[in-house]
Symmetry: C2
Subunit: 263 residues, 2 copies
């Protein structure tokens, strides 16, 4: 992540969630509609971001794994300083996790992947064995239902704080770990940052459409963050000008992130 | 599940985890090797099982989503009484979970899917909206690392018991929910069964290779279970007789399950 932050001077991450029913009309019907949409967004924003975060589910629902492969390869080839973070929230027992690590890091060539902590350390190890890749572990997610279990009291503190502690102090020997904390819960973001120290990368989804403020992401997350916005950028316009409109929102969001880091 | 249990008279589930490096040599190199392997296992065991559980990761690592589609369709067409349970352990915020539900239930046509509870109820609702399908929620997984968080003390009881309670008493209005509890932890399986009552379906992976005993699955899980074994059946022989060998192990496992239900 260090290199991507330095090269871009940005903590903005754009999530690539190509919902087929929201693609601009002039792209619909083309076999490569999803890829064309995403690469246009990438070309319009690549100088503004530290990372792209393709969301696996949208490609899987549309039978578009090959387009996801091409998209990841496109970003790596054309913008080698930008991190590709595959948002797939994998979580399974060791031998199965090995397969998911191959999928994320070899098949899709992602620099990092999101992983669910519920199955524990031995479900994350197969990802960490790819020593040049990153693993972002879910901590406090951006949805209201995240509180159902993540905020349960575990001997005096909420579960998500236990996860943060364990990841920062036990799982991160190789310096490959990050955490996922929603922009929609700034107080909890601040708690996590205080637990893990200043340097652990925090992926902060939920900026923009979900209601998370870029100001809060920077103020409470500090400089070592990936502040991620998807729908606000992707669907800024439904017309042929979608890429220009996406760029404008990305510029505004990035500026808000930088202003609040300086403030 | 009721229908599948009645039609088969069996609680055996066979997990389809086709590791490319463990396929019989005579199949290797064929573009449809994974599909051919899995359909041969299915044809050799379909009269013995209530369900098949294809594990998504093995197909994804091998770029074999189309073979997974064909496999699911094959089972539904040829053995309509047998449940297809897609083991994908999905877990994401609402709009993304909608995409995963489309993938599992529409694209792959699965009857049920496994889901991770960490993101809470609103991450499971999009699956439950498919009212004729089932959702198996991870509770106590079969790996040792499962204890890292699942066994944490939440105001007097372990987290996995809280999950079991919440799913059985709050999430299961439509009668679509089941839980996943590893055969490798029979005491915890017994605890879960006592919490959720006799009828909630429990998927019990880890029978066989991982060390879980069919005897324990039946004794502590009762009759409303899917006792799942993968590697012990799939790789009973590495030769051309792999399907016959798989059938033999399936017969033995099923008999052990039935004996212990009667005992």
């Amino acid at each position: 992540m260090e290199h991507a932050w330095r090269a871009s001077g940005s903590t903005l991450c754009v999530g690539l969630d190509p919902a087929v029913d929201r693609l601009p009309k002039h792209l619909l019907g083309k076999p490569s509609a999803i890829l064309d949409f995403c690469t246009a967004i990438v070309d319009a924003t690549a100088d503004l971001v530290c990372a792209y975060k393709p969301q696996f589910a949208y490609f899987a629902a549309a039978r578009a794994e090959e387009q996801l492969e091409e998209l990841c390869a496109y970003v790596k080839r054309r913008y080698p300083d930008v991190v590709v973070l595959l948002d797939a929230k994998r979580g399974d027992i060791g031998p199965t996790a090995e397969q998911y690590a191959i999928e994320a890091f070899v098949r899709y060539g992602a620099d990092a992947v999101t992983v669910n902590p519920y199955l524990g350390k031995d479900s994350v190890d197969p990802f960490l064995e790819h020593s040049d890749r990153g693993v972002f572990i879910l901590c406090r997610t951006s949805n209201p239902g995240g509180a159902d279990f993540q905020n349960l009291d575990v001997t005096g503190r909420p579960l998500f704080e236990v996860v943060a502690d364990r990841v920062a102090n036990d799982w991160n020997e190789g310096g490959q770990c990050g955490l996922v904390v929603g922009a929609t819960y700034p107080e909890e973001l601040a708690r996590v940052r205080s637990i893990v120290g200043a340097d652990l990368p925090l992926l902060i989804p939920g900026v923009g459409f979900q209601g998370g403020e870029p100001a809060d992401a920077s103020r409470f997350g500090g400089p070592s963050i990936l502040a991620s916005t998807s729908r606000a950028v992707l669907y800024a316009s439904a017309g042929e000008d979608f890429a220009d409109a996406a760029r404008l929102v990305a510029i505004q969001t990035r500026a808000a992130l930088i202003d609040h880091r300086r403030a």
